[in-house]
């Protein structure tokens, strides 16, 4: 039997000498040009990192190409960021400009550092997920195509802005804490295939999987029924019982959320909140989604103070002002009715007209 449980390659073997020598000794960093980080150590050593966009879903050709580039300019050392960008780690400053020139020539987009809109964190989508309501890669490509000048630093923003796309309400991808999130949602309740359910469905597990108690046994059919008044379309039952289907190409679509953040900078982390409850799936361009995201970015960028994240800006001006400035309708869908609903209701006369 092959060996098991040996773990991933040790990161220490993947570090360039300048990092090994200055590990834990970095003093500060600057951004000499968009997309480039310059880290300076207490020893005086310098490391440049050049960040480029990636579609996250990449081919072996891409892997080999970035490997070749890293070999040519970075002694073979490179890394990825938590937002799926690629970073070339340049120890020899003389190779920095030639690297940038080659990246430009090969149409890699350099950027995503500091006061910019970095790459989107997104999920699998129709490409490879069984519960995908939309295609996260397609939406992400369209949004970043539209916002690329914010990535490359041609257009500055008041603060960093983080976008996430999740193809269903499972929100794999920090959608609940991003400045702007796009989340695939259902609007119609799941359908039960009684015949299949009677054969393959674990009834008690399925009933227990429902957070709102909407699922009841259907002993006659050896299946379950779903109460449409209680079901909130979370899809949890479809994960435990293959006989329950929730996909509805006519009524499924996406929602847009704003104002979340995770950094503790100034204000504590914040949840993303609902801005737009529903936009239909409109591949391949999803123009309504791209327009809505651009609109949110532009309203925020033109009103926020320097250094103010989307959520900080909205907290300062108030949600009533946010809906006015963005000209988005506030509807009954915006009022929470789940576990933490009452924590979102206003108990004060302090609001704006």
């Amino acid at each position: 039997m092959a060996r098991t449980d040996f773990g991933p390659p040790d990161f220490r073997e993947m570090l360039p000498p300048v990092i090994k020598e200055n590990y834990g000794q970095w003093k500060y960093h600057t951004v000499p040009r968009p997309g480039v980080l310059k880290h300076v150590s207490y020893s005086g050593a310098v490391l440049h990192s050049v960040r480029v966009a990636s579609p996250r879903l990449v081919s072996s050709d891409f892997i080999r190409d970035i490997s070749d580039i890293a070999e040519k300019y970075c002694d073979g050392f490179l890394r990825f960021t938590t937002r799926n960008n690629v970073e070339f780690l340049v120890s020899d400053e003389a190779k920095l400009q030639p690297l940038i020139d080659e990246l430009d020539a090969k149409d890699y987009l350099i950027g995503g550092v500091g006061l910019s809109i970095s790459n989107i964190v997104h999920t699998q989508g129709w490409i490879h997920c069984k519960s995908a309501v939309t295609d996260a890669s397609g939406i992400s490509k369209n949004i970043m195509e539209d916002l690329k000048d914010y990535f490359t630093g041609k257009i500055k923003v008041p603060s960093r802005l983080r976008i996430a796309v999740a193809c269903c309400v499972n929100m794999c991808g920090a959608c609940h804490c991003s400045d702007i999130s796009i989340v695939g949602i259902h609007r119609t309740i799941p359908r039960v295939n009684d015949e299949l359910a009677s054969k393959i469905c674990e009834i008690p597990t399925t009933i227990a999987a429902c957070p709102t108690g909407a699922i009841r046994p259907n002993p006659k059919a050896k299946s379950v029924t779903i109460n449409s008044e209680k079901c909130m379309m979370c899809g949890n039952c479809t994960a435990v019982c293959p006989a329950i289907k929730i996909m509805d190409p006519v009524n499924d679509g996406v929602s847009i959320w704003v104002g979340g953040k995770l950094s503790n900078s100034r204000k504590a982390p914040m949840f993303s909140k609902l801005a737009i409850p529903f936009i239909p799936n409109n591949p391949p361009y999803w123009p309504e989604v791209t327009d809505a995201v651009r609109h949110l970015v532009e309203v925020w960028a033109s009103h926020a103070r320097e250094g103010e994240r989307m959520g900080e800006w909205i907290e300062r001006i108030g949600w009533e002002r946010f809906f006015k400035l963005t000209d988005l309708p506030f509807t009954n869908k915006h009022i929470d009715d789940f576990t933490h609903a009452t924590t979102t209701f206003r108990s004060s006369t302090q609001f704006k007209f």
Partner: protein, 397 residues
């Protein structure tokens, strides 16, 4: 590339932003699976619905997870994605690689799979996207030859991940890459053999900027902090000001606890350490002048998760400060206590944060032996329905 007849997806090859469609087409030159993936995706774009079946169990010898079964629901039309399984490969901590290592990975994956990857998946793994049941075992065997092991799936400790940390960040309070390396090696069994009610994730961010999204995306978030004074280089502060930096507007007035003050006469930036809550703002905007303190450790937060099923949660403070020195015994002991209790008490698919919400934070603290401290809450309770143990009240009759 007309042979694919994917007019909708072809639209997404246009423009400057790198295209995932072009990537799939590159792989499709040699991989029939990638070609059928593209064709099936075109069908999804046309019909606005996904075409993957519900789950399906696949496995490799010696592991209980790490590979995820994926089957097309239109296999007659697209036979090469009839089976198109995922292998989750544990990434290198901090996402550092060498060209040589990546090429070795590409060689193996070209031999056994689609030649398509997610660099990286939401949890942190390298996602190898699409192979057959038959090819899984030899693929995993050869990955093992080049030093890559599988990550987690199902009711297991999921692949651990972290920010770049001390390797390349001046704000790192703790050695995030080393902690993740150490914990990953220590927890190989529970990563590779699902034995829990649901997933359990650990992420490490080396400072409160939380670049690893630990507090939102992990059941146990380890976040680097310090508890002495932040360090101010007054000479460097004056250099910022000489260059036109507006210290009051950009730093002092934005300090959330009014811990900073600017003495214009002495040209000195002062901090009241007792008031500082380490929000990072001043350090973020004046990196040359202000740095983290020296007495470093971690704040641990428990319960972070996505919405399914009781709504989204951002982790709650569990331990305000813990020293983080190898071999991280205190942390491991706590992880074991938490996961043991959770495994014994959770319902199927109940995350630890949901279980704590169900039984109460105070009860949870008692079970794992932690003393309640005010740092754990935003405010004390505002209802009078207090539980008392029999030994806390006078016996009567």
């Amino acid at each position: 590339m007309d042979e694919f007849k994917t007019p909708l997806l072809d639209e997404l090859e246009k423009g400057d932003w790198p295209s995932f469609v072009s990537e799939i087409k590159k792989a499709a030159k040699t991989s029939p699976g990638a070609a059928d993936l593209l064709r099936q995706l075109e069908l999804s774009y046309k019909e606005k619905v996904g075409h993957w079946k519900h789950g399906g169990i696949v496995g490799v010898r010696g592991y209980g997870g790490g590979v995820v079964g994926r089957y097309s629901d239109v296999p007659e039309e697209f036979p090469h994605v009839r089976e198109f399984h995922t292998a989750r490969v544990n990434q290198v901590a901090g996402f550092f690689y060498t060209a040589e290592k990546l090429r070795q990975l590409a060689d193996v994956w070209d031999k056994y799979g689609s030649g398509l990857y997610n660099m990286h998946g939401s949890t942190g793994d390298i996602i190898l996207l699409g192979t057959t049941t038959e090819n899984l075992q030899p693929c995993v065997d050869e990955l093992s030859d080049i030093g890559f092991d599988l990550g987690g799936s199902g009711g297991a400790m999921r692949t651990l991940s972290c920010c770049v940390g001390k390797a390349r960040c001046e704000k790192a309070c703790i050695d995030s890459t080393d902690i993740i390396r150490d914990l990953t090696m220590h927890y190989q069994d529970v990563i590779h053999r699902p034995q829990w009610p649901y997933k359990f994730k650990i992420k490490v961010s080396a400072c409160p900027n939380d670049c690893a999204a630990a507090s939102a995306r992990s059941d146990l978030a380890v976040m680097g902090v310090w508890r002495d004074a932040l360090r101010i280089d007054q000479e460097a502060v004056r250099e910022y000001i000489a260059k036109g930096f507006k210290i009051n507007e950009q730093v002092v007035n934005k300090c959330p606890t009014e811990a900073l003050s600017w003495d214009a006469e002495k040209q000195e930036l002062n901090v009241c350490t007792e008031e500082c809550t380490r929000c990072m703002h001043c350090i973020n905007v004046m990196p040359k002048a202000i740095s983290i303190g020296k007495e470093t450790g971690a704040t641990l937060l428990i319960g972070g998760k996505v919405p399914v099923v009781k709504g989204p949660m951002i982790g709650w403070v569990l331990v305000p400060f813990m020293k983080m020195e190898p071999p991280y015994t205190e942390l491991k002991d706590l992880v074991d206590k938490i996961t043991d209790w959770w495994a014994d008490n959770a319902k199927n698919r109940e995350r630890v944060g949901e279980l704590i919400e169900r039984v109460g934070l105070a009860n949870f603290l008692e079970v794992i032996g932690l003393k309640p401290v005010p740092q754990m809450v935003k405010a004390p309770r505002h209802n009078p329905y207090i539980f008392w143990n029999p030994e806390e009240v006078e016996k009567r009759g």
